[in-house]
Symmetry: C2
Subunit: 457 residues, 2 copies
């Protein structure tokens, strides 16, 4: 009998937490976004909670507009650690939790990305994941010689080839290429080295990668784009999708759409874990949970709230904060903007109400209540073909995550929905994903079994 399907959990540990006012929380270390110990503590709490992975969002530049002026200087979304260096350090103080770093395909070279993640996979003993993003902001583009971000279509075209090259580089060496026989002086078997020689529209990369095949075969690939092209990329290559949705209907439509695209790429829907973001705020009572959330909501300054909206909808500071959301004039081509507009229209929100609604979850689903409420909400999506797990967005760090680990995780375990110990050593094993056989080894195996088959005839 197969084990019952379990809910997967990740945590997004960006900066001080997901809530715009996280750094002002009375118990927070206001400068935690640049303190190593803040992240050591956070990943250790994640591991205590048996989470599949800790996920680091990233931008190659500040991604928060200083519009209206003062927005940026009143948030902590200004400085941070670089993810690959930070996660390499955190690999040394954790043992089981997966470590997923974001890296852009728009402003990078595939060789660098392939190397760094392969290196992290070795350092962490098989716990590395790459969140593939295409860097949507103009602010980032301006750090790389451009005036603004390339159009989304072009970014995704490049991303698709980029991922292909990286995966090819990860197959430079077969699992058993390195014999390292001191006596004969043979270090590797040349027949098990594969030169990529990629020649494509965007990249020419010879290879081989100068890193040995990694403990997971290759690092886990995470994807976070929601548009049609983002979904196609996910269906083709991702092991995990980090999604954003507010309602069961939207989440289910997304889930089913992405999974339905997979067979076209010869993939089984179980090979991809879809994990929508979930801001979970637990309390022993509903009132306690609401009170906890309210502490942060009261710390959201209007300039910051308007700043958060400006990133997707343009600057709204000329409008009445307590009036309705106007038709945005300056909207960016980003799936999140539509989520915001839908939220405002659905609930008839004023500008102030809208920014307060997104101040916590930034458009992700938010559940504030008892552990039972939160797990009910998880189950609804998990059993409703809308999620394989959730990417927890703590209001603030590490406290908001500690609350989830101490209150919500035990309730999930009680219901048999969550592991009580890590199943494996690698992120891949813990996600229940198969080790990817090297294509050359697979081909040899197939040829051998054919030969044996013909011999038997």
């Amino acid at each position: 009998m197969p084990a019952t399907r379990k809910i997967r959990l990740g945590v997004s540990m960006v900066g001080m937490g997901y809530h715009l006012a996280a750094w002002r929380h009375p118990d927070a270390s206001a400068g935690g976004n640049m303190e190593l110990q803040h992240f050591v503590k956070t990943t250790q709490v994640a591991e205590r909670g048996l989470l599949d992975m800790a996920f680091l969002a990233d931008g190659v530049g500040i991604r928060f507009n200083d519009r209206p002026p003062g927005a940026l200087s009143h948030t902590c979304k200004n400085v941070q650690f670089e993810p690959l260096t930070l996660l390499s350090a955190l690999a040394m103080v954790t043992e089981r939790v997966g470590l997923v770093a974001t890296a852009s395909t728009t402003y990078n070279e595939p060789y660098h990305v392939a190397r760094k993640f392969a290196s992290l996979d070795h350092i962490s003993g098989g716990r590395a994941g790459w969140n593939v993003v295409t860097s949507a902001t103009d602010m980032e583009a301006q750090n790389f010689g451009l005036d603004g971000a390339p159009a989304k279509g072009g970014r995704y075209d490049r991303a698709i080839e980029f991922v292909d090259v990286v995966r090819g580089l990860w197959e430079s060496w077969e699992d058993d290429a390195f014999v390292r026989d001191k006596a004969s002086g043979v270090n590797y078997d040349p027949a098990k080295l594969h030169i990529l020689n990629h020649q494509g529209e965007h990249f020419r990369v010879r290879g081989p990668l100068n890193v040995q095949r990694t403990p997971q075969g290759r690092p886990i690939i995470v994807q976070a784009g929601a548009s049609d092209q983002g979904r196609e990329l996910a269906a083709a290559t991702a092991d995990v999708v980090y999604a954003a949705a507010q309602t069961l209907e939207d989440a289910r439509a997304y889930y089913q759409d992405v999974k339905r695209r997979m067979p076209r790429y010869g993939r089984h829907p179980d090979q991809l874990k879809i994990m929508p973001g979930l801001m979970a705020v637990p309390g022993r009572t509903r009132q306690e949970a609401q009170d906890r959330y309210q502490v942060l909501q009261e710390l959201v300054q209007p300039v910051v709230g308007l700043g958060a909206l400006a990133n997707y909808l343009g600057d709204l500071s000329e409008y009445d904060l307590d009036g309705p959301l106007p038709e945005p004039k300056d909207r960016r081509d980003h799936s999140r903007g539509q989520i915001f507009i839908d939220m405002a229209r659905r609930n008839n929100l004023t500008i102030r109400q809208l920014y307060l609604s997104i101040a916590g979850g930034n458009g992700h689903r938010t559940v504030i209540g008892t552990p039972a409420d939160i797990v009910d909400a998880m189950e609804e999506w998990f059993h409703g073909e809308a999620a394989d797990g959730f990417n927890i967005l703590p209001t603030w760090l590490p406290g908001g995550l500690e609350e989830v680990v101490e209150m919500v995780v035990p309730e999930m375990q009680r219901r048999g929905l969550y592991r009580t110990a890590y199943e494996g050593r690698t992120l891949r094993e813990n996600l229940g994903l198969a080790y990817p056989e090297h294509p050359a080894a697979a081909a040899r195996r197939a040829a051998l079994s054919q030969a044996l088959g013909s011999a038997a005839e």
Copy 2:
């Protein structure tokens, strides 16, 4: 009275060590170049020896030619960790030793490099250094869309602007920019944020860097090029130079030349530490040291020796191994090639003798003898205006470094030439280099003292 000038020590911890046969040493872990514990041990030994820094050479691709065929598969110069991820991990298991990673200016973007080293500086509490290289091999170029490496002049032009941009990005935030006042909600003082807006021949980079100013003000800059342009870059921007020379005369000429170029950039010669590579092989007796070295020399296969020469002089396998070095037909534009030719001509070496001479130190100075012999050799250069310290090249790791730490370091200390405890917490402090005041803060201070001066008049 000023403290006596002390010898600086670093260690080059590339792969299994510097000797071509290092991985075959009877006591070596043959796969150590891809084992985390190998490097944990190595950096901890370096720290036990109070070394200024552990240095990781790097290539963005395999840099060892498979010429003649089989050369590459009989060495371990094929796979390795990526330096920034590895050093970030090692920062967690060491406390004082500096961590210097190599990064190329030819195949990178300054924003990425500025970020990653700033992040490492924060992670390590002020121990990061960047070894600036321009990536000389065609093998690397082919991983980045090119057929071969760009000409050296162009590489250095780009490098000079690249370093300039990185340094500018490191000055995005003044030391005290972040006030993080929870009560007022002010996270940083906008007057202390500086947008770079660099527009140059090779780069357009707006900034700011999304990392806070680092514990060392900025990471240490190391430079390793030996040509005229390499020296100019070193004189203009480097804190440390890692040089290669065989003779006192060559080392002194290099030392004096680079230091003489510094005043042109408004720099004092003491602001740059020149540390030639030194392969030191100690033994309790000279015979023991020679025997130790011989163990490795006997493990050098001809295909590997020829491979090592081929990287700088082209494939020599058509010539008699025991005949003289012919005029190389296929020489690369790399300063190391000249060192090899000079060695052969000076000592009348056959091809076999030449490759055996460079099998250990790859053209760096090699001293095999008692601790007294080795420290005598150090003193000669140190007092002879040829070196401020040495970059130790252990034959194999970690054993070759352990021997230096256990035998050579005590002899240096006995002679008062070496520290008996780390002076500071950061690499900069241990190197005896001043903290770089932020230019905006310096300007404000100057304006203030002028105003006070005029007021007093």
